[in-house]
Symmetry: C2
Subunit: 306 residues, 2 copies
Amino acid sequence: MDMSKPAIAVIGCGLIGESWSALFLAHGYEVHAWDPDVQVRGRLAERLQRPLAQLATLYPKNTVPGRLRVHDTLAEAVARADLVQENAPERVPLKRALYSEIEGVTPSSAIIASSSSAFTWSQLSTEMHTPGRLITAHPFNPPHLVPLVELYGVDPEALGRADAIYRDIHRETVRLKKEAIGHIANRLASALWREAVHLVAEGIADVTDIDAALVNGPGLRWSVIGAHMVYHLAGGEGGIEHYLDHLGPSQERRWEALGSPRLTQEVCAQLIAGIAEEAAGRSVAELERARDARLIRMIQARRDEV
Amino acid sequence: MDMSKPAIAVIGCGLIGESWSALFLAHGYEVHAWDPDVQVRGRLAERLQRPLAQLATLYPKNTVPGRLRVHDTLAEAVARADLVQENAPERVPLKRALYSEIEGVTPSSAIIASSSSAFTWSQLSTEMHTPGRLITAHPFNPPHLVPLVELYGVDPEALGRADAIYRDIHRETVRLKKEAIGHIANRLASALWREAVHLVAEGIADVTDIDAALVNGPGLRWSVIGAHMVYHLAGGEGGIEHYLDHLGPSQERRWEALGSPRLTQEVCAQLIAGIAEEAAGRSVAELERARDARLIRMIQARRDEV
């Protein structure tokens, strides 16, 4: 363990807390973990074995392991933290109460970072005495593999310190200039899924074919270049300016033709039947293992730049 | 060249025709190419060098090269074709006229496959005597690297034969059950980009950060699993059924909160400025080379399954 690294508190040790713990440990950090459920925190060290093994594959040069300390109280876990990563269930009153408690027992310089997917900084910070210490730092599932962390906060100094820590553990951070429910990535994902559901609801294609089209088409391409940059390259020599001049109107027409499905019983039944066909007997755990193995290879391939 | 392979005619030798030609040649097919522009067809062999070199990297086992024959007339190019891949500019009258001409001079068993992105089979087939021979076979840019081909047609036998040829050249085909403007992939891409433009228009994030969020988050994940399957895994043990029961309503609320931007002058100016920042001085050609190099590595990594 590298004692010069900031000390991390991980509060809430479900799937997201487990991922954060593994990431910090794999990069030589001291992790102080706490969960209100004594069984959940008791099994954390054991549950970390799989993500830690995956991270050892991804970051073979990290030879100085961190140290995990599981605490019996929240106050102990955060007492000497530089960064508190909060991964409580998505309930606003619960999170607000946690921050009030943490504020009183952690160093005044400690950053409190919420992994919240569903709520914004403004919704979470209202009852804090020192709201500048709160930031949202939203990871993307599975968080120990997918590098994205979306940041929002009001104190540039706190944001800068947190950003440096996340980059040190190989996260790719982005900044929101204005907060938004769903941050950036889940809004994009939600917009795409709406159309994917529309295609099923309208009988245009099967779930399996829609997923295959995404994985072998735009998804593959978006693992390499972003959606805006795609249209810059689509404009040829003239770039995005040429594209917008010549094809902007046809994009607007296409937007108007996109669907607005509802998740009715019938549509849900189609989605469930379609997934059963695509899963072809593989369990969720098997599908997750396959996803993780592929993700690890993709991340390695992307990193091996010439 | 493998003489047992179907003969391919590539009609229209712009970027898409160039990619198709390279793909078929790299897999040992005889390609009969024609373009109405004598300069375009004259330079085809030279332009094929770059995509052929990229394909040699991707498919090192393909040691029997195909043969390119560039013809001076459409009739000659299609005279002995088993599959005619049409890549004319996106103008319906032009394409309809082409099909009428091709129908008269190609074997009656030949499949006529349109690469059209903008139009549907119904729009394209109206003036044909034998419309069952027409299929839409839409590739995804850059088509010699991105494996997706989206198929629609009305004759299952023709579709099946075309599908087998595309799979032989390492394309991943999907079938539309009902035709739709934009097929599957461009509808999904369009839906996502609408929200990406909304985030810029609302000042929530910069173009660079939105692209980075996509590439390091959902884009990376969608190169590995599809959008529907994501929600199956998000449901844990209970899968998609559990997800829809518990989080379906919150997805519907999120859909309602998505944006409906317009490509106003102001929004276009923001997009152009944002791309300039993201491109950071790199030309479109440089950005394309970087994209292709990364795509090749990603495709290799995905293929190297354990």
